[in-house]
């Protein structure tokens, strides 16, 4: 059963990604609609697959790298779908869906041994913390996609090369607005995720802050996005430097996600 949902999700994600990429070349309202629907359908089957896995494991599938990566890609897709609904920016999807697809494919290539869940992780605070962390990661991923598109548009405007792609991509202002929304959505989530993580740490290990690598780097990521948000609100950090910082924040986030593990051995 898991396998069925998984194959469906993979197929739908692949077709949706191809559709979104095609939108960069061909303008067609039908193509736009179908890309959205296919991605939405993929999201649904992905959720079903996750629920099914959760019911088999008897806990949320967020503990191994494979599970986390799959959940990360699900969060990205869900987050993107919400933003596309709101801002109607299909071409942004061409930059975000490949990321989600890549993560999903990698997750399927990894192995996950069935094992007993250690008691440390059997805390509700852990699940809460993990869910929020992924939600914020998804928002920051979309923000990074927006930043990339922003830099592309800005480049076209500066070299005065205003071809078909330029016309298709959204205006700088729209991209800026979406980026800001991503920040105001993701940053509070990250804050609460770190706090709830500390609470879990206290319950599981007796200390709120252990300076373990993952915790430390999460703080660094938090500081980067705090600076971004603060700069935006006070001195108006917009445009090029905000975009670059968004991308840097995302890269740090990715590296932390893949390499850092909580130093709790399990």
């Amino acid at each position: 059963m898991t396998h069925l949902f998984f194959s469906l999700t993979l197929t739908l994600y692949v077709v949706a990604t191809v559709a979104y990429l095609s939108c960069l070349w061909r303008t067609s309202p039908a193509l736009t609609q179908w890309a959205f629907r296919l991605l939405g359908a993929g999201c649904v089957t992905h959720i079903l697959s996750t629920i099914h896995l959760a019911s088999k494991l008897k806990h949320l599938p967020l503990t191994t790298m494979q599970e986390s990566l799959s959940f990360f890609s699900l969060a990205i897709v869900a987050c993107y779908l919400i933003f596309e609904r709101k801002y109607k920016v299909t071409t942004l999807g061409s930059f975000v869906t490949p990321v989600a697809l890549l993560m999903f494919v990698i997750s399927s290539a990894l192995h996950s041994e069935a094992r007993q869940l250690p008691p440390i992780l059997q805390s509700n605070w852990f699940w809460f913390h993990a869910l929020l962390a992924f939600a914020s990661y998804a928002a920051f991923t979309v923000a990074a996609g927006v930043a990339v598109v922003y830099l592309i548009q800005r480049y076209f405007l500066k070299v005065k090369h205003l071809g078909a792609l330029f016309q298709k991509l959204p205006s700088l202002e729209t991209l800026d607005a979406i980026s800001y929304r991503c920040l105001t959505f993701g940053f509070p989530l990250l804050t609460v995720a770190i706090i709830s993580g500390s609470i879990w740490s206290e319950k599981a290990l007796g200390s709120y802050w252990t300076w373990d690598p993952k915790q430390t780097w999460s703080m660094i990521i938090w500081l980067i996005y705090a600076a971004l948000l603060h700069g935006r609100i006070t001195t108006g950090w917009r445009g090029k430097r905000a975009a670059i910082l968004s991308i840097i924040g995302f890269i740090v986030l990715l590296i932390t996600f893949f390499t850092m593990k909580h130093s709790i051995a399990w």
Partner: protein, 433 residues
């Protein structure tokens, strides 16, 4: 029935000739009546714009109809026919349908994709309908042309890109600033291009206008026109941060706005983007301003390049449009052909029936001792004979409607059986509808 087109356009005649042949729209009734009064011309429409004068008509006699319309154009405007004739083109049947579809879709215009021609043709059609110079065929034809034009506009990008510098500026502004509602425009100096662009921005929702000029009175005058605010030239840099779009066109021989000034402005705006358009020659704004983060600078040359690229793009879209038009021609031509078949069959039948009844009456009248059911039998006999005789031709005619020989058959039948008089009666009835 055939559709014919006679006329001239910017492609075949200079503006001096076009002026001489133009029909004025407030005196269109007289030429329309004269047009439909010409021998062989049944329906007519006159389209007269600054770039073309064309007459669309329906006739059974293609060569004669075209010749008569050409003479009409010369005589009505009192020009020597020899002077006008080399500039005139004419089309008939499928060529005429294609030409009108192309013109309505703006493919024959000076700037392909321009929106005015469709409105102009609609207006001309309105007059023809009002004065009843157009009838069932031209009405249907023009309606079809309008829907083809709409298809071309929505299914190709032929009309979607900016082909004037002012429009290009507005499109760019939208890409930088997003929605233009409530944005502020500043005019530095004065000039036609500046004002035109400013008008376009206002049309798109820009609310605030500031005008500055070395001569404050000029600034005030221009500001009044836009219900905006005049700013003293000395205060330019104090107020510049309030503008989202800056149009600069002073006569100054040197740079007025430099990168340092813009850096300050951008900081004051908290890096909200600001769009500079430099129309002046020599330039008012230093090129290095474009390197400032948050500022975007375009000169008239940059905008011109955009316009050229868009025009080239329209060329590509025009091919798609021709495709659409070819599809639609087939459909319309089919309808036109079928229009002929039914009335012809009806006319033929009624002619035969007329003869039949006359003969039966004559026979019955001259019969001294008529058997009781004789009349009924004669009716039956003659009707059966008529039906059998007409059966094959009727079927053939209906089938020919799918192919291309229908004009040939219909024409032959009408001539051979002298159905013209009956046909014209039918058409008068249809025109009245």
């Amino acid at each position: 029935m055939n559709i014919i087109v006679v006329g001239l356009s910017h492609k075949t005649a200079s503006v001096e000739i076009r002026e001489k042949v133009a029909f004025s729209s407030n005196q269109i009734e007289k030429p329309l009546r004269e047009l439909t009064g010409l021998t062989g011309i049944i329906e007519g429409i006159i389209v007269s714009t600054c770039n073309r004068v064309e007459i669309y008509a329906t006739t059974r006699d293609i060569a004669g109809g075209i010749a008569r319309i050409r003479r009409f154009m010369a005589e009505y405007h009192r020009i020597a026919f020899e002077d006008l004739e080399p500039h005139l083109y004419s089309y008939h049947s499928e060529g005429a349908i294609r030409h009108v579809f192309r013109v309505a879709s703006s493919l024959d215009s000076m700037v392909v994709g321009e929106p005015q021609i469709l409105g102009q043709i609609k207006t001309s059609y309105g007059y023809a309908a009002e004065y009843k110079s157009s009838g069932i065929i031209l009405n249907r034809f023009l309606h079809k042309a309008f829907s083809v034009a709409k298809r071309v506009r929505t299914e190709t990008k032929i009309a979607s890109s900016a082909v004037s510098v002012a429009f290009a500026a507005v499109e760019l502004a939208k890409k930088i600033l997003g929605d233009l509602t409530d944005k502020t425009v500043m005019l530095v100096g004065a000039g036609e291009m500046c004002e035109l662009a400013a008008k376009h921005f206002m049309n798109c929702g820009a609310k605030g206008v500031m005008v500055t000029n070395r001569t404050f009175e000029r600034a005030e005058r221009l500001a009044e026109e836009f219900a905006g605010e005049a700013v003293r030239f000395e205060e330019l840099f104090q107020q510049l941060h309030r503008a989202d779009i800056v149009l600069s066109s002073t006569g100054a021989p040197h740079i007025i706005i430099g990168p340092k000034d813009v850096e300050d402005v951008v900081k004051r705006r908290k890096f909200r983007p600001i769009f500079f358009i430099d129309i002046a020659v020599p330039r008012d704004i230093d090129q290095k301003v474009d390197d400032v983060d948050g500022a975007f600078l375009f000169t008239v040359d940059d905008l011109q390049e955009i316009v050229q690229a868009n025009l080239a793009q329209r060329g590509v879209e025009a091919d798609k449009a021709e495709e659409i038009i070819s599809q639609e021609i087939g459909q319309f031509h089919k309808w036109l052909s079928q229009l002929e078949v039914t009335p012809t069959i009806v006319a033929l039948r009624s002619r035969f029936d007329e003869i039949r009844r006359t003969e039966v009456e004559k026979t019955v009248a001259g019969w001294k001792e008529l058997p009781p059911d004789a009349e009924k039998r004669l009716e039956a006999l003659t009707t059966a004979m008529m039906n059998k005789l007409l059966h094959a031709p009727t079927l053939t005619l209906k089938k020919a409607g799918q192919g291309g020989r229908v004009d040939l058959y219909v024409d032959a039948l009408r001539q051979l059986f002298e159905l013209e008089a009956a046909a014209e009666e039918d058409e008068e009835l249809e025109l009245e509808e």
